[in-house]
């Protein structure tokens, strides 16, 4: 039983840090709320779709920016898609890079776009690793016979610690 509570503590700490460091935002909590006994794998399923989609988009972006004559509308369209999908799962840092990326597309600034693509790859890999780590911890807790702590309470304490200025109940 000690193993379970230790794992749960680890999970809480890890989750809190992800929110504090801006890797995840409230939208991720919203996803958790939609998961229940009838849809126990909802979050993993959506996040997996996000991973697949992201890798495709990153390849498309690299290709588009390598063209002799860059089609910035096309590039922007890929970034727009990436912005949407990352925002739908709460991958806040990825979304923020996409916002900057779109500005460079509008300016037709190739250098800026290339730098953003690098940043995007970096942030994507980071959040993917973090989420995979989170899922692994969840599996360990469940296999040890415990239950995964509720996100809502973790999120509330995280927001009091962050500089959002919001008071939590």
């Amino acid at each position: 039983m000690a193993a379970v509570s230790q794992l749960q503590r680890q999970f809480i700490e890890y989750t809190t840090s992800l929110y504090n460091e801006g890797y995840l935002d409230d939208q991720y909590t919203q996803l958790q709320k939609l998961q229940d006994e009838s849809n126990p794998d909802f979050v993993v399923e959506v996040v997996s779709l996000f991973f697949e989609d992201s890798e495709k988009l990153l390849n498309n972006l690299a290709t588009a920016l390598q063209q002799k004559i860059v089609d910035y509308k096309q590039v922007d369209s890929h970034v727009h898609q990436f912005k949407g999908s990352s925002s739908s799962i709460g991958a806040q840092r990825v979304t923020n890079v996409c916002i900057h990326f779109r500005n460079f597309c509008e300016e037709k600034n190739l250098d800026g776009c290339l730098r953003c693509l690098q940043q995007l790859k970096h942030e994507y890999i980071q959040v993917r690793n973090k989420l995979e780590g989170l899922f692994r911890l969840e599996q360990q807790i469940l296999q040890a016979g415990g239950s995964v702590p509720m996100m809502e309470s973790i999120c509330t304490s995280a927001s009091t610690m962050s500089s959002s200025g919001k008071l939590s109940a």
Binding site: L34, D53, S87, S88
Partner: protein, 224 residues
């Protein structure tokens, strides 16, 4: 417990993003709606049984005589930004179609562009949701679907009477009562989050405000 009205509502969700389709489907199913998702405006029109000559002012007979969709759709929720037919194009086509124009349409967009929002609302969209869409947004859908049901019931039961006295006031009262009903529905929706006793008092108020005739015009509407 009365009839579970929500299970009768069928929503058609349109979005080119597979992630957003999965999300909206879960949001709608959690709120007890039946859901069909499609990935484009043209597929949505196909599903709705839309015909090109099916316009409000068209004199041409339709290809299929019954002209209606195979499955009843009570609301369309669509993404704005889609390749090919945008959500706005879809909205326009639906509102111009004689068979589909009464289906409420809701637009979703990741971008907060005021001119876009007003354009959609002017074209007849009921609501405009900013993405990512949440449960709170989805809770705003029911009144729009209920309005369609009330309208249908009203059209099909114009003679439903209790006694001679009501018959005299009926025409004036009906309009007012429908208005009251819709207001109450909206009230109930906005009170959804508050405690049970507050909701119950609204329910009691609605029963005293309406006479039996009105309640009988609303066979599927339950507040409990």
């Amino acid at each position: 417990m009365g009839v579970a009205a929500d299970s009768q509502f069928h929503v058609l969700a349109v979005d080119d993003s597979i992630i957003d389709r999965k999300l909206i489907e879960r949001l709608l199913k959690t709120s007890s709606y039946q859901v069909t998702t499609v990935d484009s405006g043209s597929k949505a029109l196909q599903f709705l049984g839309f015909h090109d000559d099916d316009e409000v002012n068209s004199n041409q007979p339709c290809v299929s005589p019954n002209n209606s969709q195979e499955v009843e759709v009570n609301l369309i929720i669509t993404d704005y930004c889609m390749p090919g037919m945008t959500g706005y194009d879809l909205l326009k086509k639906v509102k111009k179609s004689s068979s589909l124009k009464d289906i409420p349409v809701v637009i979703m967009s990741s971008e907060n562009v005021p001119s876009r929002i007003s354009r959609c609302l002017e074209e007849g969209a009921e609501e405009f949701f900013l993405k990512p869409v949440r449960l709170l947004d989805v809770s705003k859908l029911k009144p729009h679907m209920m309005k369609t049901k009330i309208k249908e019931t009203h059209e099909h039961q114009p003679q439903h009477q209790e006694n001679n006295q009501e018959q005299q006031h009926k025409q004036d009262q009906e309009h007012q009562e429908q208005k009251n009903a819709l207001e109450i529905l909206e009230e109930v929706e906005s009170e959804q989050q508050s405690n049970g006793s507050k909701r119950k008092s609204i329910e009691e108020e609605s029963v005293t405000k309406q006479n039996k005739t009105q309640i009988q015009l609303w066979p599927i509407c339950r507040f409990d």
